[in-house]
Symmetry: C2
Subunit: 319 residues, 2 copies
């Protein structure tokens, strides 16, 4: 089943306590696709400037990305510069230069318009709506957003929510959007606003899959060394969507699995700068990490009704 | 197997966004025992003042607590007054009046000294050490501590760590103790300092069970309404220890189950003020909540090596 992503293609400069890089591959469409393409081919729609390295595009294409939707426009590529705190829990944006991204108006190539699985990366919700207008009959549309749009384009975002199936956001975004600090009430609010499914990512703590009658929680993969959190959310979305696209199964149990694939991809993303970790990860590593998740949360319920009953009758006795 | 707790017996006055109470039952030994006694009898060692209500002690005894280790001393009972932030994530101590707790020097009654499972609630580590000196041959000793002791009594605490089996702390305490902000490295540090097992509680995010070669993570129970977080950590410890005491099984799988029982008890504790929720909870409710935890984290790994392999060969093709 064809999988389409629309999002940013950026050059990131990141400072972490462990080092820094400059003009490395980044952007929501790139992190998404690098993760997703391990499991399933991806159609990419985005824009790069004249300065975006041609060889980078070649390498991305070699991963299984169809880049016919990537436009090269006059001007500079989107650049983001950020700095993380000592514990990587907070980041400060040092510089944002939108470049060609400022005038980005996604045109979906004719050959992509039959996409069945669509991920709308974090861009202006008005553009996300215009993308949807160009897709013929998607089976599942998922989208991301950010606090900036929640405040500046709330009406467009609410309209978008009525047209999508899955919202993937982090906990701060879920709170801002709903106006409720409790993450489960916030998720309920979002589901009532449109999408049948919400995935709330909670960074180092894990992710919640929320549907009106169904809840799943997976912890984040336990890492002693986190290197660069940039792109973890988009890599998560890439794992989530590519698992759904390749299985074409939207059952609750398969949505749970998709969240685990998302968590696995997010955990890989943070282990190196930029998309570097995905140079080392193939399907075998992904499967191994999914199995580690299963072991991480595994526990068996003993048949112990009798034991508790026996304890009850002993209540109040000396033991 | 006999289960012993040593800790505080307090009268708490708590302000939350949802209301407040005054001089309600609290303290680590009380929260621990109210949770634990649902599953297993508990021997309690602590001290109360002349003003502690006799009828409260009668009601605690009716729950299956052996209070022969509770001393009534001259003076006022330990009182704590606190106020929670709007989202219950932070609390401010408004007043602490130690009263008879200031001179507390736990004497373990002769009939309790054969206890096999021992929980040392959060008190001065020098007192925790003196308790251990009085126990003949415990099978498992678990303990809690807090930032105040980590700073003021570090040497005694490090000596204690060498003599216990399980440390149950929250993430802030694990970080303070180890000097490492990464919770998994912090847990490793603690295990290298003595106990074979560390449980790091992460509040609304869940809890980690850490052993040198073994890791388990259970999310917190998803609650849309949290009423009063006071005592959740001690109730957690009560569930954890009572499950171990009643099963007398220290296998890794049973330790995992104990963490789930702890999480269940912690989730009950926060649903009402003080110990009130435990008036409504029996073994059936505990079992039901443990099953809900199992459903919360359940996912199955499909046999899908073939699917990924097939995808791989399709890499780079249009889909």
């Amino acid at each position: 089943m064809s999988l389409l992503v629309v999002g940013s293609i950026a050059l990131d400069s990141v400072q972490t306590p462990f080092g820094s890089n400059a003009d490395a591959l980044g952007g929501s469409a790139v992190f998404f696709s690098c993760a997703a393409s391990i499991l399933h081919p991806v159609q990419v729609v985005g824009v790069v400037g004249e300065d975006y390295p041609e060889e980078a595009l070649v390498r991305l294409a070699e991963r299984g990305m169809d880049l016919r939707g990537v436009e090269r426009a006059e001007g500079e590529s989107f650049r983001w510069k950020g700095k993380y705190s000592y514990d990587l829990q907070n980041r400060e944006t040092l510089e944002t230069r939108l470049g060609v991204f400022a005038a980005f108006d996604p045109r979906i190539p004719e050959e992509f318009r039959d996409a069945r699985y669509v991920f709308l990366g974090n861009i202006d919700p008005e553009l996300q709506l215009r993308v949807l207008d160009q897709i013929h009959q998607p089976r599942l549309v998922a989208c991301d957003t950010m606090n900036y749009w929640i405040h500046s384009k709330r009406d467009a975002l609410l309209e978008l929510l009525e047209r999508i199936d899955v919202l993937l956001v982090n906990d701060a975004e879920a709170r801002e959007l709903s106006g409720d600090w409790n993450v489960y009430r916030a998720a309920r609010w979002i589901v009532e606003a449109g999408p049948s499914t919400v995935v709330v990512k909670q960074g180092v703590y894990g992710a919640v899959l929320y549907e009106s009658d169904h809840l799943f929680y997976i912890p984040a993969f336990p890492l002693e060394e986190v290197f660069d959190p940039t792109g973890a959310g988009d890599a998560f979305a890439g794992g989530f969507m590519s698992h759904l696209a390749r299985t074409d199964d939207l059952s609750p149990d398969n949505l749970r699995r998709a969240v685990v694939y998302g968590s696995a991809m997010g955990s890989f993303a943070v282990e190196r700068f930029s998309i570097d970790r995905f140079n080392e990860v193939g399907p075998a590593e992904v499967t191994a990490r999914v199995r580690e998740f299963a072991e991480l949360v595994r526990f068996d319920i003993q048949p112990e009704g009798d034991q508790i009953a026996a304890t009850q009758s002993a209540r109040g006795r000396d033991s």
